[in-house]
């Protein structure tokens, strides 16, 4: 099984991915890979998104947030690990890369849980 750092590099290597960042619950960068976007900004905003949606989900009785996919005009942001101490955020320029990223991101989240 590949380690977390190599999985993160694998995600960033997917065509269409800008930045992949692993962060703590506060939104501070633990590790990141890729280019085209400030990893700190992505981590902070993604963490904020998760917190917002987490409150909405609980208010609706749907439980906590686990995964978030935000589709913007210029790209897609995938946030995973809403209920974990370590989270993953991936910014994609090309939405078509989302499926490939989700597959690797799932493996990365499993690896992060083992840390």
């Amino acid at each position: 099984m590949a380690d977390a750092r190599s999985l993160l590099a694998a995600i960033s290597a997917v065509t269409g991915v800008s930045v992949a960042v692993v962060m703590d619950r506060g939104g501070f960068v633990i590790e990141w890979a890729g280019e085209g976007m400030e990893a700190e900004d992505l981590a902070a905003v993604a963490s904020d998104l998760l917190e917002s949606c987490d409150g909405v989900g609980r208010d609706l009785g749907q439980g906590g947030m686990r995964k978030l996919i935000c589709e913007f005009e210029e790209g897609v942001v995938l946030v995973m690990g809403g209920d974990a101490a370590t989270r993953l955020a991936v910014a994609l320029r090309d939405p078509s890369a989302l499926d490939a990223v989700r597959h690797v991101a799932g493996e990365l989240m499993l690896a992060l849980e083992r840390l």
């Binding site: 962060m23 506060g26 501070f28 633990i30 902070a44 917190e51 409150g55």
Partner: protein
């Protein structure tokens, strides 16, 4: 079917027939007495005999009209006595001309006239003149009673009888009296309101107007007090307006305009089907007296019990009590436009005396008086459509209404009256605090736009202290009650899913502290902590320029972001975040709000200041410490230093970039540790402080081992992975404590 209308007793033929019959009997009696040579005079002294008629008449008047005033009693008595004298004289004159008749009229004196038999006829004159002798109030009641539609008339009339004539089928009326009969119901209801129970101070304009109209149309029987000018409003008296024994007029209101106020789930079927199954499909029938009683207040409400009988019982799910409990204030608010459109327009005409405004036309528009004839139109116009003069009148009317309402209905009405006159103000949060503008832009805004101090929250004064200082002396500070503040906090807590923040401003000399905290956190404790931590932000205290200082604890995370130079009386933005919250996002937004360019603080360290430097001793660095230092790779290459604080009996482990001022950093770390200990006494307990200076972070973590030995770990350097750096420092602190 037409209504019976009031007819004065003077106009009643029957009364005059009785008088005429009495006069015939009187004449016959005089003839009979004359033919029988019987003197009609008393066998009493003449002055006593002349006193008998007025005494008798006074007694009769008092007995017949017990409630007549002394003036009317006296007038009636004198009137009857005068007629008595006149009749005696006329009788003597008449019979003196009857010389050929064998009647002895010598016994009939012209003056003073005999008491008999006039005293039997003269009192009959009270029958036609009784209305003049009676009190006006009692005559008014009788007149009103005559104006009420009879029970049969009401039963036969359509539900929308008189008042709903423009919209419903017209009730049969006598030609030429339709207008009178249309208003009769309103007048009746108004008069019932006025005469029932304790008399109100003044009648409402509408009701007063209707009374005046009735007085003019009728025999000028309207009460005099109702023709006085001046604005006044009839108090709302539910006990008067809910009398069930009075026949009344009915207004119609579209069910669709009211349906949305009904509690959801109150019926088995959708509301549109409910509307179709009402007593009158699509409409609710509202008693006119309830509307008239509230009209002057500007809105009309009715209790559910008023309209409940119109709803089919088999379609209801809730009981009446349940529905009432779920209505706002237990009542339904009715659409005023529909009600007013069914009322006669003259109800809205001002009733006061016409003011002579000749010569005032040249006064500029805002100060021109309003012609009374324009009053009705003014009241019917919506806001923004009335001309300047109308606006003046409208405001005056509102002010009068508000004043009256305050006097009679307590705080609740005061709130409603004030709501009507409420002037909405734009309450702007400081754009800098919400990250919309930078400081330079805000400075330019100062000259043009200044937020109002009139807000519910004094903390909305999020404005430069000096700017406020100009206004403080001129404007009184409004005190917000503790109850209001507690209510505000409850509201904010309820809005927690929306992540609302509590924004306040606190002058903490020599700086101003802006606080932003989510609801639910102890803001006071955060403020107390900030007061202790603020001196550490002063230039020269920290080894690096401070862009931001984040204090992490188990209960909360405090983020202090300086705005401007601390030495020059700048401000500090204090953000309070929950420990599990998005701290990084708040840090980022706080930096943006403070418009700080990371690492751009140009203030040189204050080397001249004399800081109390602990008595540090250099210690030997064990190999374990070097290994731990090597594990902190998120901050780049660091060198390891160990200092021993003799006084505090604690060790400082410093992992800093090469060339760093170790002692100064150690001194700052000890000061920070001391501050954190002080803060813990006031509420919050912090374990980690992160100083941000550009891309550099200085992480200070205090640990206290179970042995009681205190350890401070200080690690700093440029990093792109602050989260990892904090985790590494945390792990290092634990390892050092456990060694």
């Amino acid at each position: 079917m037409r209504n019976r209308r009031a007819v004065s007793s003077i106009r009643q033929v029957s009364g005059w027939l009785i008088v005429a019959a009495g006069l015939v009997v009187y004449a016959a009696l005089v003839l009979l007495l004359g033919m029988a040579h019987i003197s009609p005079t008393f066998t009493l002294p003449s002055w006593v005999a002349q006193a008998v008629p007025p005494i008798l008449y006074a007694t009769i008047v008092r007995l017949c009209f017990r409630r007549a005033s002394a003036l009317r009693w006296t007038t009636a008595t004198l009137g009857l006595w005068g007629i008595h004298v006149l009749l005696g004289a006329l009788t003597a004159i008449a019979f003196s001309s009857l010389g050929p008749l064998s009647v002895d009229v010598g016994t009939i004196d012209a003056f003073p006239p005999p008491a008999l038999p006039e005293i039997f006829w003269v009192p009959l004159l009270l029958i036609p003149f009784r209305d003049l002798v009676r009190e006006r109030a009692s005559r008014t009641r009788r007149s009103v009673a005559a104006n009420r539609p009879s029970g049969a008339a009401q039963r036969n009339a359509a539900p929308t009888s008189a008042l709903a004539a423009p919209h419903g089928p017209a009730a049969p009326t006598r030609p030429g009296t339709s207008a009178q009969s249309r208003t009769a119901g309103i007048v009746s209801a108004a008069d019932r309101l006025r005469t029932a129970g304790p008399a109100p101070r003044q009648a409402s304009p509408a009701l007063r107007s209707s009374s005046v109209q009735q007085g003019r149309a009728g025999e000028n029987h309207a009460p005099r007090e109702n023709t006085r000018g001046g604005a006044g409003f009839l108090p709302r008296r539910p006990d008067e307006t809910t009398r069930r024994d009075d026949p009344e007029v009915t207004l119609r209101v579209s069910f669709g305009r009211v349906a949305e106020q009904l509690p959801p789930g109150a019926f088995h079927v959708p509301l549109d089907q409910i509307g179709a199954s009402l007593a009158e499909p699509g409409h609710l029938l509202i008693p006119g007296r309830l509307v008239l009683a509230q009209l002057a207040e500007g809105f009309v409400r009715i209790g559910w019990e008023v309209v409940a009988p119109q709803f089919p019982h088999d379609l209801r799910v809730m009981t009446d009590d349940e529905i009432t409990a779920r209505l706002a204030d237990g009542q339904l608010v009715l659409p005023l436009d529909e009600l007013v459109s069914q009322l006669p327009t003259h109800l809205f005409a001002p009733s006061g005396r016409t003011v002579d405004i000749a010569g005032l036309e040249s006064v500029p528009a805002p100060f021109q008086p309003v012609r009374p004839e324009d009053g009705a139109a003014t009241q019917m116009k919506g806001p923004g459509t009335a001309p300047a003069g109308d606006v003046t009148a409208s405001l005056a009317s509102k002010a009068g209404a508000a004043f009256d309402n305050r006097a009679r209905m307590g705080d609740r009405t005061v709130e409603m009256a004030e709501r009507e006159d409420l002037v909405l103000e734009d309450v702007d949060l400081d754009p800098i605090l919400i990250g919309q503008v930078d400081r330079a832009s805000r400075l330019s805004m100062d000259a043009h736009h200044r937020p109002s101090r009139r807000g519910s929250f004094e903390e909305l004064a999020a404005w430069p202290r000096q700017a406020w200082a100009d206004d403080v002396s001129a404007q009184p500070v409004e005190v917000v009650s503790a109850v209001d503040i507690a209510t505000m906090h409850r509201i904010l807590a309820a809005l927690a899913p929306l992540r609302t923040v509590d924004v306040r401003v606190h002058p903490v000399k020599p700086v101003t502290l802006f606080t932003m905290s989510p609801s639910g956190l102890d803001r006071d404790a955060a403020l107390a902590a900030a007061r202790i931590l603020l001196p550490l932000l002063t230039e020269g205290r920290a080894p690096w320029p401070v862009d931001q200082l984040t204090m992490r604890g188990a209960e909360a995370v405090l983020i202090l972001t300086p705005i401007g130079s601390m030495r020059r009386g700048g401000s500090v933005l204090l953000s309070v975040v929950q420990p599990e919250g998005a701290v990084a996002a708040v840090e980022r937004l706080a930096l943006r709000a403070a418009a700080v360019k990371p690492g751009a603080s140009s203030e040189p360290p204050d080397r001249s200041a004399e800081w109390q430097e602990p008595d540090f001793l250099d210690s030997e660095i064990p190999p374990l410490i070097n290994q731990i230092g090597a594990s902190i790779d998120a901050l780049g290459a660091v060198t390891v230093e160990v200092l021993r604080d003799q006084e505090a009996a604690r060790d400082l482990f410093l992992f800093l970039p090469e060339g760093s001022d170790v002692r100064m950093t150690g001194r700052f770390a000890t000061e920070l540790d001391r501050a954190m200990r002080s803060v813990s006494e006031s509420g919050y307990t912090f374990h980690t402080a992160v100083l941000r200076s550009g891309r550099r972070r200085l992480i200070i973590r205090a640990e206290c081992a179970e042995t009681g030995r205190a350890t401070i770990v200080v690690a700093g350097g440029p990093t792109e992975r602050p989260g990892l750096a904090c985790r590494q420092v945390e792990a290092a602190a634990r390892a050092l404590c456990e060694r």
